[in-house]
Amino acid sequence: MEITVTVNGAPRTADVEPRMLLVHLIRETFGLTGTHIGCDTTSCGACTVLLDGVPVKSCTLFGVQADGRSITTVEGLASGGELHPIQAAFKEHHGLQCGYCTPGMMLVGAALIERNPAPSEEEVRFAISGNICRCTGYMNIVKAIQAAAASKAGAGADEPAA
């Protein structure tokens, strides 16, 4: 089946078997290996991507379901050589240890601060509760997401009024 998916802003076309999972479409067909496969059973969140801006587990969706829709992977966070505020904050606050869960954590964090500009610690922990960090490095992940929210809000405040 031929499908067209907007991946990180650019339309991509592929001819796929219906049973191909979205995560395999992203990694193998589109070559974007920043999306990880962890448990492969809808538990860990390593394969998180944004589907039309909403975080979902790409191991539990068929690629054909993304036809005509928009996907953001970790590769799509930075723009024009500038890190996304969430990436800058993960770097600054050491929000990762082994890095395996990091793409998923950052995408969930990016989606959270999009709709909640100042999440509390509890709100961050609730938002990332479908993503497992097996290094158990949650403290700095939470700190990084809150810092990203603060820096994004700060950057917005500096922008001249329209």
């Binding site: 219906p18 049973r19 492969d40 059973t41 809808t42 975080p55 587990k57 509760s129």
Partner: protein, 288 residues
């Protein structure tokens, strides 16, 4: 893990979906949120020859009160239930359960119709809907019928649905004044199936219980309605003693099995505690 091969059909309208189900019958499955179906297909517990994707079918994602009932479209995602102002303000049992289903990412895709049609006794929403006395609407090319949820659920993963039918709507009697309710769930971690879940709904009138609903999760072959406990409460004064008796009856109606999440005896005890706790909380809300 790869599911076995299937033919994919994307339905653009309800009529198209129903016609596909009529054509492929037993060999077809409806793909909605896919958060239970796809894992089961990956594990090859399910291997339908045809998937009918209904995600783009319009008109199935409403949450509205109409003609004395709350009508929830089958395609309503758990996240939409969780964030609905109508649910939050008038249906506390649903509001309490929604944010406890699976995890936030699964809730972005998983649907209420899928959860109920899947008929996993560890599912949370069927218990809630049993407590609320809900019915389900089943549509086929030939027409539609409405069944009380308690009749719809037959056994684990087994319902009254025919192969050419699709569950399109859940209908809940509209919230009454002086009502309260909650959902208490014990889970080992976010995203695990419930060790035990208890849904409670209570309506008071003139100092007595006009209606009590109790649904139980993960303690039987289906989600269970604790009917004896409900009957004992109906017409009674909402006292701690009445609640303790109802909790005893609900625990007796539960048929948990011992597994990695706890012994049968332990789970029955949790039912007893949660029914008492849930009813007390519901009474507070109803009195407020």
């Amino acid at each position: 893990m790869l599911p076995s091969r299937f033919e994919y059909h994307r339905a653009e309208t309800l009529d198209e979906a129903l016609s596909l189900l009529a054509t492929y019958g037993e060999d077809a499955k409806v793909l909605a949120g896919g958060q239970s179906l796809i894992p089961m297909m990956k594990l090859r517990f399910a291997y339908p020859g045809h998937l009918v994707d209904v995600n783009r079918v319009p008109g199935l994602d409403g949450i509205e009160e109409r003609d004395g009932a709350l009508r929830i479209g089958a395609l309503v995602r758990h996240h939409a239930l969780e964030t609905s102002e109508l649910i939050r303000s008038r249906y506390p049992t649903i509001a309490a359960a929604a944010p406890q289903i699976a995890d936030p990412l699964v809730r972005n895709l998983g649907t209420i119709g899928g959860s109920i049609a899947h008929a996993d006794p560890a599912g949370d929403l069927a218990s809630v809907m049993l407590a609320l006395g809900a019915t389900v609407v089943l549509r086929s090319s030939g027409g539609s019928r409405e069944l009380p949820l308690r009749e719809f659920l037959v056994d684990t993963f087994t319902t009254q649905i025919r192969p050419d039918e699709m569950l399109t709507e859940i209908v809940v009697p509209a919230a009454e004044p002086s009502s309260g309710g909650t959902y208490l769930k014990q889970e080992r971690k976010v995203g695990d199936w419930a060790t035990v879940g208890v849904a409670v709904a209570l309506t008071l009138r003139d100092g007595r219980i006009a209606r009590a609903g109790i649904g139980l999760t993960s303690v039987g072959l289906t989600n269970l309605e604790a009917t004896e406990a409900e009957e004992a409460l109906a017409g009674a004064e909402p006292t701690d003693e009445a609640f303790a008796e109802a909790a005893r009856l609900a625990a007796a109606a539960a048929h948990p099995v011992s597994d990695v999440r706890g012994s049968a005896e332990y789970k029955r005890h949790v039912v007893d505690v949660y029914v008492r706790r849930g009813l007390a909380r519901a009474r507070e809300m109803a009195a407020a």
